[in-house]
Symmetry: C2
Subunit: 339 residues, 2 copies
Amino acid sequence: MSKENVTSTDVARRAGVSQSAVSRVFTPGASVSTSTREKVLSAARELGYRPNPIARAMITGKSRIIGLVVAYLDNQFYPVALELLSRSLQERGYHILVFMAENSTEGVAQVMEELVSYKVDGIVTASVAMSNELTNLCDASGIPVVMFNRGQNDLRLNEVTSDNVAGGRTVANFLVAGGHTRIAHIAGWQGASTGRDRAEGFSDGLAQHGLVPFAVLDGMYKREIAAEQARTLFSGAERPDAVFVGNDHMAFAVMDVLRFELGLSVPNDVSVVGYDDVPISAWPAYDLTTIRQPVNRMVAATVDTLMSRIGGDKEPRHIAIPGSLVIRGSARRPKGFAQ
Amino acid sequence: MSKENVTSTDVARRAGVSQSAVSRVFTPGASVSTSTREKVLSAARELGYRPNPIARAMITGKSRIIGLVVAYLDNQFYPVALELLSRSLQERGYHILVFMAENSTEGVAQVMEELVSYKVDGIVTASVAMSNELTNLCDASGIPVVMFNRGQNDLRLNEVTSDNVAGGRTVANFLVAGGHTRIAHIAGWQGASTGRDRAEGFSDGLAQHGLVPFAVLDGMYKREIAAEQARTLFSGAERPDAVFVGNDHMAFAVMDVLRFELGLSVPNDVSVVGYDDVPISAWPAYDLTTIRQPVNRMVAATVDTLMSRIGGDKEPRHIAIPGSLVIRGSARRPKGFAQ
DNA sequence: ATAGTTTTTGCATTCGAATGCAAAATGGAG
DNA sequence: CTCCATTTTGCATTCGAATGCAAAAACTAT
């Protein structure tokens, strides 16, 4: 069947047409008669021809590749997003080229430059922040960038997040309604918009009830750091009766410390609420009450933004998709609580 | 600094040399004098030039892209492997192009054809099986394929696995040494070599002690199916006193069922042993005794194989890296057990 | 200084498909 | 059946870097 290097010229020869004709058959929207199309198509089938994406990219300047910059995959939220994103792009004839970055400015910068030189059609950054000059670079290169699950407040960039401020506020309301009074927050990384916004919404929400956080500690979105903060939080004489953790990944670590190191019962002694609703949260071992970030909708919005920017739309989008509270067993349930 | 589309010709003009000279500066092993090299390098720096990988791929036929075919990312083993693989390849100037595949023959076939047309330098398949004709396609295309964590027993393909038979046997020995007598196996997908090998080693190991498995059920590497099989397994009058589960991902589901649906204590009522040693296994909520697949070594071997095959080595490699038993709290500990 | 050797350099071509342009073929109207 | 409009087609060029080849430059040895 399929030979090794079948080119459009081979197909052309076999079909008795010009190379241009072959190219046009495989270029959507090009003008070809039905008869040539069929000749070409059958010749192509016989030879096992597929247009070479590299050569195509060379001439069109469009690689049909989307660069994904991501810093870590241990937080389950990202593999899930990656899978959805990849599948959705694949349906549209795009693929994801993965760039792992350190979440440091230089690390990201280096990766981004490489990305630009790859002439990708678009870039998605996940769990990664961008410096100002980096934003300039991207902007100058003309490659659309979508920041997934992170905001930059830069008008030139697209971002897709969930409404983190509202989410934080919902958690505050929920915990207050549950009768908690000493509510602490092990926050997401304060260098990231998500971390700050969730913390802000949370403090805001408490304030509406005349409360202040018992404590706010930065868990840096890292399991180990969150665990350490949990230990600190519970080392004093007075202990919190509820902890809002900046994401599920850290919340699991916090629950582990509370239960297995401090011997506390969740939710009887302490309520724990997370953020993301990764699949593990639904596992009965954690059964975590959390704010659901609708990954599928976030991914859809990301793809949508990407496609329309690639299509020429110049208007940057800042999309915040509302999350919703998923009530499970890790936090005391208020009676008749409405979000 | 960096302008939009700087080509080697721009740099050449600026440095007062020919385009070839510029190309040679960026081609390792090409002959350039120190003085031209410096002129070119500084001109390149000033203009923010980077060689266009697409054009380079066009002429050399080497894209410096490795295609990764993967079916699911919800089993933490794969995101972890992906991250390691990506970082390791990145260091060598390669990147990963992701192809999500259904784990069906047609799905994989379609994806593979696309992959071949992308002229990737190599292909890694993870959690994916390949049909015979697919193997032919790859073989004919001349693109090296490494099957990660799956074997095919096909002499033309490279594979990197852990020694699954030995791992299964170790588990059997361990559980027998722990005094268990009714040892069941919720196996990995029997359509996959890993699933079969682990099951085989396990039965083998039991046989050496004159035992037979209490039951062997196929969990298909799916959380839900494993949970269902656990329910079945424990629905009869006689119950197993130990369960070896085909991978950690399923083992978590099984433990959840045992503890939260059946109210059993692990390991007091039932011992559970997994396979993989994904990070979650070390979380105290599961504290899972399991066989460690040394992901880092497996990834290293994968990269190594890939590089040498790309470098022209024709000899297919079948690498099985030994795993080791990680004893944690989910299974009764035998006294003085040596692997 | 000269002839011979090695290194460096530029020219021109190549990879494979897409596309502007003009020629050819087709279609429709009169 | 002719003439004009439209569609289809092929030719030639293009994208950006790599490379074989031959010319030029730099060394080496005599």
